[in-house]
Symmetry: C2
Subunit: 204 residues, 2 copies
Amino acid sequence: MAGRRGQATRQKLLDCLSDMLSSSPYRDVRVIDVARKAGTSPATFYQYFPDVEGAVLELAERMVKDGGRLTDLVSGRSWTGKAGARAAEELVDGFLAFWRENDAILRVVDLAAAEGDKRFTKLRTKLLTPVTGTLADAVREQQAKGRVDQGVSPAAVAGSLVTMLTGVAGHQKGFSAWGAKQADIKPALTLLVHLTVTGRKPAR
Amino acid sequence: MAGRRGQATRQKLLDCLSDMLSSSPYRDVRVIDVARKAGTSPATFYQYFPDVEGAVLELAERMVKDGGRLTDLVSGRSWTGKAGARAAEELVDGFLAFWRENDAILRVVDLAAAEGDKRFTKLRTKLLTPVTGTLADAVREQQAKGRVDQGVSPAAVAGSLVTMLTGVAGHQKGFSAWGAKQADIKPALTLLVHLTVTGRKPAR
DNA sequence: CGGTAAGCTGACGACATGACAGGAACAGTT
DNA sequence: AACTGTTCCTGTCATGTCGTCAGCTTACCG
């Protein structure tokens, strides 16, 4: 259902929309601006997308696809000893990097999900499920060893950790206000993740 | 700079705006709808506020003032033994309650802050500083006792915890997707907070 | 080179924005 | 009750965006 030229303009529109999301508040992103930036007209935009939100949804879908990278950060890792310390560190690192690369679209996804839009909630879940699931498994495993409180839900703990990572990634700037330097954040998160998953401080 | 009647309509406009924020996406909140709902005209709205964002800013300011309640959740608490367990529990409880009561406006504040709007970043900081600061003090104290890793920044740890609380409060619904029941969330957060601040599992 | 389908846009009605001036409601005075 | 000055509200207007056509342009293929 698409020709070669059509694909190109469609893609260009998405690119320009992505730029606009980075440079101006979501509330102020107008179809006409996106179209102008893409060197085309609003009518063309509406040929490919129902509205701004529809186009954003597609950007989000692509971002989620690319988000498979997040899975590699947790799959097949050991959480014991030095390897555990590295696992926590790399998880935090990877998460922050991914968020930095996609902050504009992730902001919008977070908002729409919080507002209850099912399509975006679903996408957000899809993006985070691999990480949360694997983390939950790790917690369950450590529970069996008696290192983590048995009475607590692994899914809830893992979800909370992941939510912390997403939240911190999105509000890093705010941290400076209460006297935490940029470089302090990663070690703090790493400690928190490791401590929660394993019940122990990370080995050096 | 205001008469009695004027105050009333101004307030009514704010109330209606607050309702609109709860019931429809921020992006779609229009001046004309707010005015209509308040039984008045757009011109009246513009007499009191520069635009929707300006009115939202005022809503946010009032919410932050009311947010002094959050301070009581952390000030003058002991983090040792059973009292520590209760401190963590009540902090989580209070936070979730506050977020549930103000979710609509907090969503917008979070978005605007993430987008880099200084006015909103400042408000968000103001709201969270008492909690973060006090938590950071608690962490510092436990560091002195050798229970928490010395090499980590108390402010960064406290900030991460608070960000986790805000994030989870805003995305509670999403948790069900990965098999965590609503009732599982509070215990998980409580454990996390206590474990991180004190380095120990909470006493029963 | 001509025909066909795909892709683009000018133009339009509907509606939101933001500004103003004039009219309505009010409070206090006589 | 009538008068008067102030405060407050709204009708109206110019401007600009939204979302939709019909119709024009471009690319492709025989």
